[in-house]
């Protein structure tokens, strides 16, 4: 019979007490694993979402983090808008001349100031909602051109349907694509008509609807929870056009092809004029809402063409520079101007993680480690309290020829077995819970997690448990060591 066997028998003899002390260690380890798993999910989520397909966001002056959170994660509210004309500065002359809306006084024949530094510029208009999901007014390039993922090689794929078009024969400017989560939770399929709420999930619902023509596959990005619409249709919704002077408003008398994203051939369809411009109409939206201007609520622009450029604003422009080397210079130039600011979203996300998320995770980890220490103390108390009952048993073992170090080893082994047994059970339960919660976590964060998702830091668990076991088993073991055999027999 080995010393392990003797220790195991002793544990079985006090089955209930042993089970409870092992359970407390198991709970502690389970919490530690849970925190480590959460850390892994959050880190992976941040990491994957930091690979955005663009390396700069240009938006209104204000909080950098707010701009990043709003644009990347669709959190918080837009700070303000920037003029459409400023967005055009990121286009080359060739791209600018493909614009279909009435440019007014804007010279489209020249290169934008930053056009030659930019490989991709995608405008986004934010502020409206479809229930709790953000409405993103943008161009088809958002879903066609952007790549994401750690290797920046994943493109947005469709589970059903197709990308929205700039202008389709069936739905005009009013097509929508749903992110995977949005589609599931809205219960909307292809052909469904969505009516965005203005400025707030509970806000005034636009009369103009958008027809769902596509549903994205899950991407694991915040875009899973967004509703994408054609930017032209976005502008044509009530209160989304910026009010202008009466004179400027009548400058667009000519027919134009509808605007399109800058990698597509221009659409030849005639662009109807926007109606009912009323510059005297009060702004009735909160500052920070975008595109709530001038028009009467519920006014339907379905029959109108793209609104003129001077009535447009964008919330942000997603930029991918031609080369990483030009990024700092471009950022500085934009930030020195008065019109807008440029932020590097990866940097902002990283700072957010390091400054806020990581310290919280560290605190959680420390707390759970303290729970394990408390569990270790309970093991100490349990074994120590049993020593008074077992003094005779220890004396018998000594009388049979066991040395002091042998009985001490037996007690230490009991502590190790209880700690390891509880720890392993806690680890198994934690990972089983991970596996059970995996589908939900994946749906919410895009991060796949299963039973065998093991954080590297979990490798420290076993040595830590062993250390705790020896530490807290030492005092009862010392008591066994000091047993007076003659007195105890």
């Amino acid at each position: 019979m080995s010393l392990f066997g003797i220790a195991w028998r002793s544990i079985r003899q006090r089955a209930l007490a042993s089970l409870l002390t092992a359970l407390s260690m198991g709970l502690g380890v389970m919490l530690v694993v849970a925190v480590l798993s959460i850390h892994g999910v959050v880190s992976e989520s941040f990491r994957s979402n930091a690979s955005l397909g663009y390396n700069m966001i240009v938006g209104a002056k204000g909080g950098k983090l707010q701009l990043t959170l709003n644009t990347v994660y669709y959190l918080s509210q837009p700070v303000e808008n920037i003029p459409y004309e400023y967005y055009l500065e990121f286009l080359t002359a060739e791209q600018r001349q493909r614009e279909q809306a009435d440019p007014g006084r804007i010279d489209l024949k020249r290169d934008g100031r930053f056009g030659r530094s930019v490989a991709l510029a995608i405008p986004v208009c934010l502020g409206d909602y479809v229930e709790e999901f953000r409405l993103v007014g943008t161009t088809p390039a958002f879903l066609d051109k952007l790549r994401f993922g750690p290797e920046m090689d994943r493109k947005f794929e469709f589970a059903a349907g197709r990308n929205f078009q700039h202008k389709s024969a069936e739905h005009g400017y009013f097509e929508a694509v749903l992110g995977a989560v949005a589609a599931r939770e809205l219960g909307a399929g292809l052909g469904a008509e969505l009516h965005p709420a203005h400025g707030d999930p509970e806000g005034h619902v636009h009369a103009q609807g958008f027809t769902v023509v596509g549903i994205l596959k899950r991407s694991g990005t915040p875009n899973d929870r967004a509703v994408f619409v054609n930017m032209e249709g976005f502008y044509l919704m009530a209160d989304h056009a910026k009010p202008v002077d009466e004179d400027a408003e009548h400058a667009h008398a000519h027919d134009q092809d509808p605007p399109h994203d800058h990698d597509q051939a221009p659409d030849q369809a005639h662009a109807p004029k926007p109606q009912d411009h009323d510059p005297a109409h009060d702004h009735d939206h909160d500052h920070g809402d975008d595109h709530a201007h001038g028009h009467d609520h519920g006014h339907d622009h379905a029959a109108a063409g793209p609104i003129p450029m001077n009535q447009r604003e964008v919330t942000a422009v997603l930029i991918r520079t031609v080369d990483a080397a030009v990024t700092p210079g471009l950022q500085n130039t934009i930030n020195e101007g008065r019109e807008a600011q440029a932020v590097l979203p990866v940097l902002e996300i990283y700072n957010l993680f390091e400054v806020i998320v990581r310290p919280i995770q560290t605190v959680l980890l420390v707390l759970t480690a303290m729970i394990c220490v408390v569990s270790g103390i309970s093991i100490l108390v349990s074994i120590y309290n049993s020593m008074s009952e077992r003094r005779h048993e220890i004396a018998v073992i000594r009388a049979l020829g066991a040395g002091r170090d042998t009985v001490m080893t037996i007690i230490l082994l009991e502590s190790v077995l209880l700690s390891l047994g509880g720890g392993i059970a806690g680890w198994l339960v934690a990972h089983a819970l991970n596996a059970l919660a995996g589908p939900l976590i994946a749906a919410q964060t895009g991060v796949a997690i299963g039973f065998w998702n093991i954080e590297l830091s979990e490798a420290l668990l076993i040595p830590a448990i062993l250390l705790l076991a020896v530490l807290f088993g030492f005092f009862p073991a010392l008591s066994a060591y000091r047993t007076d055999v003659g007195k105890s027999l």
Binding site: M1, L3, S10, V396, I397, G401, G403, R404, G486, L489
Partner: protein, 220 residues
């Protein structure tokens, strides 16, 4: 000579700090394969003498030679190892470990002696004491007499040179006392093991050829 005590003294310290002498034995010897009983009233130091011989307690003075080795010259760990290898101890209250079966209790007797693990021998010893069918039972499932038999088997496990039996029939009913004594004597005879039994029972003492009185060999 199997056992030779020479000028062995042992005293305890009382709560008030005074020394309480228990043993002062000028000479005591037991021959190889000899079986004897040591009688004396309760509290006269019989158990203390067995503890000193077994190395459980250290003598204050003198030599305790067992099979040629003076165990008083050994370290505590040395005495533990010696006891595991050379001495079998039968306790008054059996002292079987409750969480272990009869067979495992016998095996425990082998665990602490180096190179002495022999499960077939453990089973054979249980067979010899008539507990073949009870090998897997825990002590709580055994009668008093059966528990004492297991204790006898455990004491013999390592083929010791000497068996020390401390009042082995004290907790056995009268009807079975002779049987237990005879079992111990017979197995010691078969295994060529010396036997020193202590008892306060004259009836038990009457079964032995050599009976010494502790008060005759102990000057305290």
């Amino acid at each position: 000579m199997l056992l030779d005590l020479e000028n062995v003294k042992k005293s305890f310290v009382e709560p008030n700090g005074d020394q309480l002498p228990i043993l002062d034995i000028p000479r005591f010897q037991l021959q190889r394969n000899e079986q004897m009983v040591l009688v004396g009233p309760s509290g006269c130091g019989k158990t203390t003498m067995l503890h000193v011989i077994a190395g459980i307690r250290r003598a204050d003075a003198g030599a305790v030679r067992i099979d040629g080795t003076d165990i008083e010259s050994l370290s505590e760990a040395g005495r533990d190892r010696f006891r595991a290898a050379k001495i079998g101890y039968i306790f008054q209250t059996f002292n079987l470990l409750p969480g272990f079966s009869a067979l495992e209790n016998v095996l425990l007797g082998m665990t602490f002696a180096r190179g002495r693990k022999d499960p077939p021998r453990a089973q054979m010893l249980l067979d010899r004491v008539g507990l073949t069918a009870r090998a897997s039972h825990n002590p709580s499932a055994l009668s008093v007499g059966e528990q004492q038999r297991v204790a006898v088997a455990r004491a013999l496990a390592n083929r010791p040179a000497l068996i020390l039996a401390d009042e082995p029939t004290a907790n056995v009913d009268h009807a079975h006392q002779s049987q237990i004594v005879e079992l111990i004597r017979e197995t010691c005879r078969e295994e060529n093991i010396g036997l020193l039994m202590v008892t306060h029972s004259q009836e038990v003492a009457s079964q032995f050829e050599r009976v010494d009185r502790l008060e005759e060999i102990n000057r305290v």
